[in-house]
């Protein structure tokens, strides 16, 4: 058995899929119940369910912000993996927020709402494109053209130095995978992206 992965539970829906995917890769995995033991985990997951305000409200009413930012700044051997909404809350703010909630501010910028002819969410599959970032390009070359599953109404455009992979619709692009130090953000759902998603998850957890 490998290291222990913890999933934060903002009590907003299905955590079973991500837990199953991690266990499928032979990692031990638990839903985090005691927030004082975050340092027991080799990876902490912010799952991708719910809305921006609900997630931030949970984080702030349980004093998670301080603990996570401490891990982000001081405990670089612990990974923090944000999936979909879990990535979006790591930005400064979001257009989804009605009460102007403050994001974690790990990535700078605002999460924006899609504007296109069908009502959001954007829901379906698309291929990852590798960002032109000389430091990371070789390490993450396995991501190129991987077909992954997205379901979201809001998107992020990270600073170029943090962006590993993106999605391109004509000349409109948004971030699909961003990394800053030990925080890894995925806009897509690796636990719902078939064998390609499982491979990406495995690479992230083992890297």
């Amino acid at each position: 058995m490998k290291n222990l992965v913890g999933i934060l539970n903002y009590r907003l829906g299905n955590l079973l899929s991500i837990k199953s995917a991690i266990e499928y890769l032979n990692y031990r995995c638990k839903i985090i119940d005691n927030l004082n033991n975050l340092e027991d985990f080799s990876c902490i997951i912010f799952p991708g369910v719910g809305a921006f305000d609900q997630a931030i409200n949970y984080i702030d009413s349980n004093d998670i912000r301080e603990k996570i930012l401490y891990i982000f700044k001081k405990k670089k051997n612990i990974k923090i993996l944000g999936i979909c909404l879990g990535m979006q809350i790591a930005f400064d703010k979001s257009e989804e927020s009605v009460v102007k909630s403050k994001g974690l501010g790990i990535f700078s910028g605002c999460v924006k709402k899609f504007n296109y002819e069908l009502k959001p969410p954007l829901n379906g599959w698309a291929k990852l494109k590798l960002s032109n970032n000389s430091e990371t390009k070789n390490k993450y070359s396995f991501l190129q053209d991987k077909r992954v599953y997205f379901t979201h109404s809001y998107y992020c455009q990270t600073e170029k130095r943090d962006e590993i992979a993106y999605i391109k619709h004509n000349n409109f692009m948004y971030s699909a995978l961003t990394i800053k130090d030990n925080f890894i953000g995925l806009q897509f759902h690796p636990e719902k992206s078939g064998p390609a998603g499982i491979e990406i998850l495995e690479q992230i957890l083992s890297n």
Partner: protein, 267 residues
């Protein structure tokens, strides 16, 4: 000028650049997959896991699980199967049949459903869509609209195609969209199981009212039916759902993939 042009381009291209979705539909009764014709089950086959695993290995995008007698008996019995499947199969699951209130929906999500669909419950009380949409997000709720032709109108049916609601399918779709539904799975009862192609007239008829992703179902049997449904909907259809082609081993997902690639339907 720059803003307007790029906005138009985004609008145009976001639709086209999402991959066309191939969705396997499993109609389930007494824990077995059943082959159906015009919504009537007529042959019991293997367990859902058998087909789900087979389709997953072939590269299917999503699976729909329909407990086809659930609404009749007012319960959905798929929970334990879904939980088992979600340990091995890592693609989106849409689950339905017998979901009639927020508690049923919550339970389905907890058991591993990513999306649920409603049919009978939406016809009886459209508020169910709003409740689920508000709590779990629009992406979590689909309408399964089942149409049968009466003279020159399509009428919405419920209880797995047994009961005539007296509501025009268009009106049901509009109401569902107004209440925050995230997707429409539209199935022709007359064409379901026939493999003669989709009911293109039906899809042409509803095309201009659709504001959310549309999945075509009922009648798929040959590769060029994809081209025809794309034309009937002016490329609006987001994907197709099918059952018989894999239950009867008529074609593999690989063949479908290749056809889509060769015809520039993005995969």
């Amino acid at each position: 000028m720059g803003i307007k042009v790029s906005y138009l381009e985004i609008k145009y291209f976001l639709k086209l650049s999402l991959n066309f979705r191939l969705i396997g539909r499993l109609d389930i009764k007494s824990k077995k997959v059943v082959r159906t014709y015009q919504k009537e089950g007529f042959k019991f086959l293997e367990d859902p896991l058998f087909y789900a695993q087979k389709l997953y290995n072939q590269g299917i995008d999503e699976l729909i699980f329909d407990d086809i007698v659930a609404s009749l008996y007012e319960r959905n019995s798929l929970s334990s199967e879904i939980t088992e499947l979600s340990k091995k199969i890592f693609i989106p699951f849409t689950v339905g049949g017998g979901i009639r209130n927020i508690d049923n929906a919550t339970a389905a999500f907890e058991k591993g459903a990513d999306k649920i669909f409603v049919n009978t419950a939406a016809i009886k009380n459209i508020d169910i869509i709003k409740l689920i949409s508000n709590k779990f997000g629009t992406q979590s709720i689909a309408l399964s609209a089942q149409a049968k032709k009466h003279e020159n109108k399509w009428i919405a049916y419920y209880d797995n195609g047994r009961e005539n609601s007296g509501i025009e399918i268009k009106d049901l779709i509009i109401r569902a969209q107004d209440n925050g539904v995230g997707e429409i799975i539209l199935q022709s009862i007359d064409y379901q199981g026939t493999k003669k192609g989709f009911d293109y007239n039906l899809f042409e008829d509803i095309n201009n009212i659709i504001t959310v992703p549309l999945i075509a179902s009922g009648g798929f049997g040959k590769l060029d039916h994809i081209d025809k449904i794309m034309k009937a909907t002016s490329n609006k259809v987001s994907g197709i759902a099918f059952a018989n082609i894999f239950l009867e081993d008529i074609m593999s997902i690989n063949e479908l993939n290749e056809y889509c690639l060769n015809n520039n339907f993005l995969r």
